[in-house]
C-alpha cells in the first residue's frame, strides 16, 4: 500500500514537472505580439523617398516601409516580393505577374498601374537605379500583369528592381504629396511611417494588413546617436535594443554574454587599397604588385580589425557571385622586394597613403599598418588623414597616390560596381585605371543575358584586374548587429538591409 502511494505520488510529480517543462519550453519559443524595438543609428536617415536616397541608412529604414517587385534573400538570391513570378520573353522584353490582394498603407490597391507610376518615377529620378540607357517603359497588360520593355539587353534588370531605391510607392500618395512625398512614405511594407523628429527619432508602427501577415512588433524606433561610445553605453543601460557594427573589441565581449545576442553575417561591402594608376609612380604595374605582396593581410584582419571582418576575396564579395575568384595576393615580403627592384626602385621610394577616418571600419588604422608593412620592404609611405568631404573631392580629381576606399554591392550584382569603378574614364573611376581588356569584358557582360555566361565574363574581368594589381582588396565586411537576448528572429540581408517581419521581443 505504502509503496503504491509513493509510486503514484512520484508519478504525478514527474508528470506535472514534465508538463511544466514542456509548456515552459514552448512559451520561450512562441513569438509574442507587442513591444517596441529601438535601434541606434550613427546618422539619421536623410530622406524617406527611396528614389532620392542619400546613403544606405535611408534604404535600411525605407526597406521596412516599402517593397519592390523582387528582393534578395539572405544569400543574395533574387526572390519574389510584389511580383509572384516573371519570364523573359525576348532580349528586350520581360513579363511580370503581380501579387494580388496587396494594399498600400493608405488603402490604395497595389496593381499594375501603381508599378508603372513608381518605376517611371524611379527612371526619371536623377540617380535612380534603373539604367538610363537600358530601361525603357512599363506596359500594362492587365491589372496584375505588366511587361517591361528595355532599350537593349538589360542583364541586371532584376538586380536593379530588387534594390529598395526602386521601391513601389502608393500612386495616391505620389499624386497627393508630389515633392513632399519624402515626408509621407507610403508603401506596402510591414511597417508604416508614424513620425520623424529631426535629430531625435524616426518611429514606424505595425501595418496590420501586411500581406505576409502582421508583424509581431508594435513599433520600430530609430534613434540617431553619433558617438560610438554613447551608443554602447545606451545599449548597456537598456535605452536601446539594437546597435549596429559596434566597436570590434566589444563584439567579442558581447558574444560571451548571455544577456546579449550577436547576429553576424556577410555584408557586401568591401574595402581596398587603391592606386592612382594614371600617373607616376603607380602607373607602374610592377610597383603596384610589389605593394600587394608586402601587405600582411592576416595581421590586418586578426589584429587591426580584431577578427570582426572577413578576409578579402577579390574585387567582388563572394555573396554576389556563385563562385568567387581565387586568392590572388599573399603576404610575401621577399617577392615584394624582388618586384620593387624589377619595377626600377631598388632603393625604394617615398609615397603617400591617403585615407578618411571612420568612414570604413579602421580605415586610418589599416592605412598606418600598411605604411609600416611597406617600410619593411623599403617603401617610405606616409599616411595623410583627410576629412571626408575634402577627401572625396581630392580623389575624384585624381590627386592621390595610394588611398583607402570601399564600395558596397547594394544591388547584389558585380556588373554595376565593376563598370562604375574600373572602366576607362567613368566618373567614379577615382583610381584613373584604364585597361582595354577590362573595358571590353565589361561591355561584353553588359550584353549577355544568361546569368552563367555573364558571370564567366565578369570573373575574367576580375582576374585581369587582379593580375594588373588595379586594386589591393583588404577585407570584406561583416554585418554585425548586437541586441538584447530578448530580441528574436532579427534578420539581416547582406546588402545592408534588415528584415523585421518576423522579429519579436520577449515581454
Amino acid at each position: 500500500m505504502f509503496k503504491f502511494r509513493t509510486l503514484a505520488l512520484v508519478g504525478i510529480l514527474i508528470g506535472l514537472l514534465s508538463i511544466g517543462g514542456v509548456t515552459g519550453w514552448a512559451e520561450q519559443e512562441q513569438p509574442e505580439y507587442g513591444g517596441t524595438l529601438r535601434i541606434a543609428l550613427q546618422v539619421e536617415p536623410a530622406t524617406f523617398d527611396p528614389n532620392y536616397y542619400r546613403s544606405m541608412v535611408d534604404l535600411l529604414v525605407d526597406r521596412l516601409m516599402f517593397e519592390t517587385l523582387v528582393t534578395f534573400d539572405s544569400e543574395v538570391n533574387i526572390v519574389p516580393e510584389l511580383a509572384t513570378h516573371w519570364e523573359r520573353i525576348d532580349d528586350v522584353t520581360w513579363r511580370f505577374w503581380l501579387r494580388e490582394g496587396v494594399n498600400f498603407h493608405d488603402g490604395t490597391s497595389f496593381n499594375a498601374e501603381a508599378v508603372r507610376v513608381s518605376l517611371e518615377r524611379a527612371f526619371e529620378a536623377p540617380y535612380g537605379y534603373l539604367d538610363k540607357d537600358l530601361f525603357g517603359s512599363v506596359e500594362i497588360e492587365s491589372d496584375y500583369i505588366i511587361k517591361i520593355h528595355t532599350q537593349a539587353p538589360y542583364p541586371t534588370l532584376l538586380n536593379d528592381l530588387a534594390i529598395c531605391i526602386d521601391a513601389i510607392y502608393s500612386p495616391t500618395a505620389l499624386a497627393l504629396y508630389k515633392d513632399e512625398v519624402n515626408m509621407h512614405p507610403i508603401g506596402t511594407g510591414p511597417f508604416k511611417f508614424d513620425h520623424y523628429t529631426p535629430k531625435q527619432e524616426v518611429v514606424l508602427v505595425r501595418y496590420d494588413e501586411y500581406w505576409k501577415g502582421a508583424p509581431y512588433l508594435d513599433k520600430v524606433v530609430f534613434l540617431p546617436i553619433p558617438d560610438p561610445t554613447t551608443r554602447i553605453l545606451a545599449f548597456e543601460a537598456g535605452d536601446v535594443d539594437v546597435i549596429i557594427d559596434p566597436l570590434p573589441h566589444k563584439v567579442a565581449d558581447y558574444e560571451k554574454m548571455d544577456d546579449y545576442r550577436v547576429v553576424k553575417g556577410p555584408n557586401t561591402r568591401i574595402v581596398w587599397l587603391g592606386f592612382n594608376s594614371g600617373t607616376e609612380p603607380f602607373d607602374n604595374k610592377l610597383l603596384r604588385q610589389a605593394v600587394a605582396y608586402a601587405i600582411n593581410y592576416e595581421d590586418i584582419v586578426e589584429y587591426v580589425c580584431e577578427g570582426q571582418v572577413r578576409p578579402a576575396s577579390g574585387p567582388v564579395p563572394p555573396e554576389v557571385m556563385t563562385k568567387p575568384i581565387e586568392t590572388w595576393f599573399t603576404y610575401d615580403p621577399a617577392k615584394a622586394r624582388e618586384l620593387l627592384k624589377e619595377a626600377g626602385y631598388p632603393n625604394g621610394l617615398k609615397v603617400q597613403i591617403w585615407t578618411g577616418e571612420g568612414r570604413y571600419l579602421k580605415d586610418r588604422e589599416i592605412a598606418e599598418t600598411i605604411a609600416n608593412q611597406l617600410r619593411e620592404i623599403g617603401i617610405n609611405a606616409e599616411v595623410k588623414v583627410w576629412e571626408w568631404g575634402a577627401y572625396w573631392t581630392a580623389i575624384m580629381n585624381h590627386e592621390q597616390q595610394m588611398y583607402m576606399i570601399g564600395a558596397g554591392y547594394a544591388n547584389g550584382s558585380a556588373f554595376g560596381p565593376l563598370k562604375g569603378l574600373f572602366k576607362t574614364g567613368v566618373p567614379y573611376n577615382h583610381g584613373n585605371y584604364s585597361n582595354a581588356t577590362v573595358d571590353a569584358l565589361i561591355d561584353l557582360a553588359g550584353t549577355i543575358l544568361d546569368p552563367v555566361e555573364n558571370e564567366e565574363v565578369l570573373l575574367a574581368a576580375q582576374r585581369v584586374l587582379m593580375a594588373d594589381a588595379a586594386l589591393v582588396p583588404i577585407y570584406n565586411k561583416l554585418g554585425i548587429y548586437v541586441m538584447s537576448a530578448k530580441v528574436h528572429d532579427f534578420e539581416m540581408i547582406p546588402v545592408e538591409t534588415i528584415r523585421l517581419d518576423k522579429t519579436w521581443i520577449e515581454q
Binding site: 536623377p126 540617380y127 535629430k199 531625435q200 535605452d239 567614379y428
Partner: protein, 306 residues
C-alpha cells in the same frame, strides 16, 4: 542710456552682414564639393550638373552672395542641402534644445561657481581656498567628452537614474547640463576669486572696514558690485559660447543642438545651413555683448556713455 542703446543697435546689422561675408568666403575656399556630398556616391554626371545649376553654384561668387543677401533681407535663409527643408525651420526646431541646455548649465555654473569663488577669496590661503582652487582646475581641465561618458556610465548604466542620451525632458537635461556646468564652474570660480581679491585690496574697502561696517556688508554692498564687472564679462562670453557651440556635449549625449547642426552642416558642405547657423550664432554673441555692456552701466556708475 537710451542714446547708448540706439547707437549700439545701429551697428548690429552691419556686424552680422560682415560675419556672413566672412563665412561665405571661408566656405568657398574650403575644399569639398557640396553637390558631390549631397547626391551621394552613385550620382551620375548629369545629375551633378543639373543640381549645381539648381542651387546657383555655377554663378560667380559675388553674385551668389548678393542673391543670398537679397533673400536674407526678405527672411529667406535658403533650403538646407541636407534635409531639403527651409533652414529657418530647422533652426527653430533645434534652438529650444540648445537654449534649455545653455540656461541649465549656465545657471548651475553661476550659482555654484560664483559663491565658491567668493568663498575662496574671503578665506584666502585656507584649506577651503586651496581645495576649491584645485577642484576648479581639475574640473576645468577634464575633456568634456570624457566627463560626459563617465557621467553616462555612472548615472545611466550603473545607477539607471537618468537616460543615457537624448533630449525632451528634465531628466534628459541633467547629465549633459552637469558635464557642461563642470567646465564653467571651474573657470567662473577662478575668475570670481581673482576679481574679488583685487577689489579686496582696494583703498575704499579698508575705509569701509575702518568706518566700522560689518564684514558681511563690506562684502555684499561694496566689494561684490565692483568685482562683478570682470565676472559679468566672463558670464557673457560663457553664455554665448554655450548657445553657439556645445557640439561635443551634443554629440556625446545625442542631443539636437546648434553646435552639432553647424558641424554636421560643415561636413556636409551644406552652405545655406552653415550661413544661417553662423548668422544666428553671431547675432547671439552680439546681443550677449550688448547685454554685458548694459550690465556694466548698472554695476559701475563711473562708466558714463555720453
Amino acid at each position: 542710456m537710451l542714446r547708448y542703446l540706439v547707437r549700439r543697435s545701429f551697428w548690429v546689422v552691419p556686424q552680422i552682414i560682415f560675419v556672413s561675408l566672412i563665412a561665405f568666403i571661408a566656405m568657398s575656399i574650403t575644399p569639398g564639393d557640396p553637390v558631390l556630398m549631397m547626391l551621394g556616391p552613385e550620382a551620375n554626371a548629369d545629375a551633378i550638373e543639373k543640381t549645381r545649376k539648381e542651387l546657383g553654384l555655377h554663378l560667380p561668387l559675388y553674385e551668389q552672395y548678393l542673391i543670398f543677401l537679397g533673400n536674407a533681407c526678405r527672411g529667406d535663409l535658403g533650403i538646407s542641402y541636407m534635409t531639403r527643408r527651409p533652414v529657418i525651420k530647422e533652426l527653430c526646431g533645434i534652438f529650444p534644445f540648445t537654449l534649455e541646455l545653455a540656461v541649465a548649465s549656465f545657471s548651475v555654473a553661476a550659482l555654484l561657481g560664483i559663491p565658491l569663488g567668493i568663498l575662496s577669496a574671503i578665506k584666502r590661503h585656507s584649506f577651503v581656498d586651496n581645495l576649491i582652487r584645485i577642484l576648479s582646475v581639475v574640473w576645468f581641465s577634464i575633456p568634456i567628452f570624457w566627463s560626459g561618458l563617465m557621467l553616462i556610465l555612472i548615472f545611466s548604466v550603473y545607477l539607471r537614474w537618468f537616460p543615457s542620451f537624448g533630449a525632451g525632458s528634465f531628466s534628459h537635461l541633467v547629465l549633459p547640463g552637469a558635464s557642461l556646468a563642470l567646465v564653467s564652474v571651474g573657470m567662473l570660480g577662478r575668475m570670481t576669486r581673482s576679481s574679488v581679491l583685487e577689489v579686496l585690496a582696494e583703498e575704499y574697502v579698508k575705509t569701509a572696514r575702518a568706518k566700522g561696517l560689518k564684514e558681511g556688508k563690506v562684502i555684499f554692498k561694496h566689494v561684490l558690485k565692483n568685482a562683478m564687472v570682470s565676472v559679468v564679462t566672463i558670464l557673457g562670453l560663457q553664455f554665448s559660447a554655450l548657445l553657439g557651440g556645445a557640439v561635443l556635449t551634443e554629440s556625446v549625449f545625442a542631443r539636437p543642438g546648434l553646435g552639432r547642426f553647424l558641424v554636421d552642416a560643415i561636413f556636409a558642405r551644406d552652405y545655406p545651413a552653415i550661413r544661417a547657423s553662423i548668422i544666428l550664432i553671431a547675432t547671439i554673441v552680439i546681443l550677449a555683448n550688448l547685454l554685458t555692456d548694459l550690465a556694466y552701466f548698472y554695476l559701475d556708475p563711473r562708466i558714463k556713455y555720453s
